[in-house]
Amino acid sequence: MTRSQRSVHRLLWPLLAFAVVLGFAMALTLRPPPNAELLPAAQDLIP
């Protein structure tokens, strides 16, 4: 690799890691609770 490619490489990976870790953590914490799609139907059963 050329010197400039190594520089790009060293800059790119921390940025990519930061963006993906942030996105992954948000996707994990914000995902709907299990069986969330059943809730409206279940509410219909409540008298």
Binding site: T2, R10, W13, L16, A27
Partner: protein
Amino acid sequence: MSSAFRAVQWNRTKVVYDGILLAGVTLYIGGYLILAHWLDPPKDLPAAIDLRIRAFGSCAFFMLTIILSIGPVARLDRRFLPVLYNRRHFGVLTFLVALVHASFMVEWYAVQNALPSLYDELTKFSDYGKFIGFPFKALGIVTLLILFLMAATSHDYWLVFLTPSVWKRLHMALYAAYGLVVMHVALGVMQNDRNPFIPAMLASGFALVTLLHLVAGWRERAGDRAGARRSEGWLAVGPPLSIPDKGARIVTPPRGERIAVFRDGTQIGALSNLCAHQNGPIGEGRIIDGCVTCPWHGYQYRLADGCAPPPFTEKLVTYRVRIAHGVVEVDPRPLPPGTPATVRYE
């Protein structure tokens, strides 16, 4: 190396490499499908197709993880260099596995006569403003396009046409593709499927690849520090015997590319550390059969003038070398490629 165009130059190593690749992919996908059918048989055709989507998708993810690990692992430990040799075939196979994954996804909609739903999903532009609910399939499509671009330009024809520097920059798009794949799964199947293996697979794969690239990059940084300067701007390499016989020491000028100073018996010469093929680290190679040999793909050059032996035409930049007060010195100003510039010491 090639003196004329050929679609693929097969040799025994490539055949063995590809055989192991194909066997690995077949074993993984076959094992996945057999185990899944045995543990929880699919109830209908869409469920059976869904299993295939997951088998090929997870296989492509693991393949991409391995491909992106090969480069830094080979830089950290030379024993992994043989894995790097035919990495392009690995990449092309990954594209094909990802393509099958995508085609099963289309089939899943088709067997339920729901192809318009797929179209609606991808063209509901208001969803692109959401985070949860983002059309994750679009991320997969972009990734597949990047993998296609990589596979289509993987041949040496494109490497020569684009030049190694541009080609390498283009192929760095694979890093972005890997990030997109992680988000494709995180915003897709991970939202509905509570199987803890899915986030574990994503997190461990991405953490491994990132860590390897960061560690390898950090180690390379030390090599980019400029070497000691001598009189008239020449760089000190060290006593002749400090250069391993049939090996090299690498020196770095203050600006510019690394220089590989080789010793072949009593002959000393300096070449660019960048192989003409893929900018591989020539200085980490050895002199084999009288030629400096790149550790990545075996491209060879004469130490005397940096020229590939006939009938090949590649040439490397050379540098003037001298021995002053028992120390080998190299002039960091490059000579035209193919210029003879070696010295002998007594």
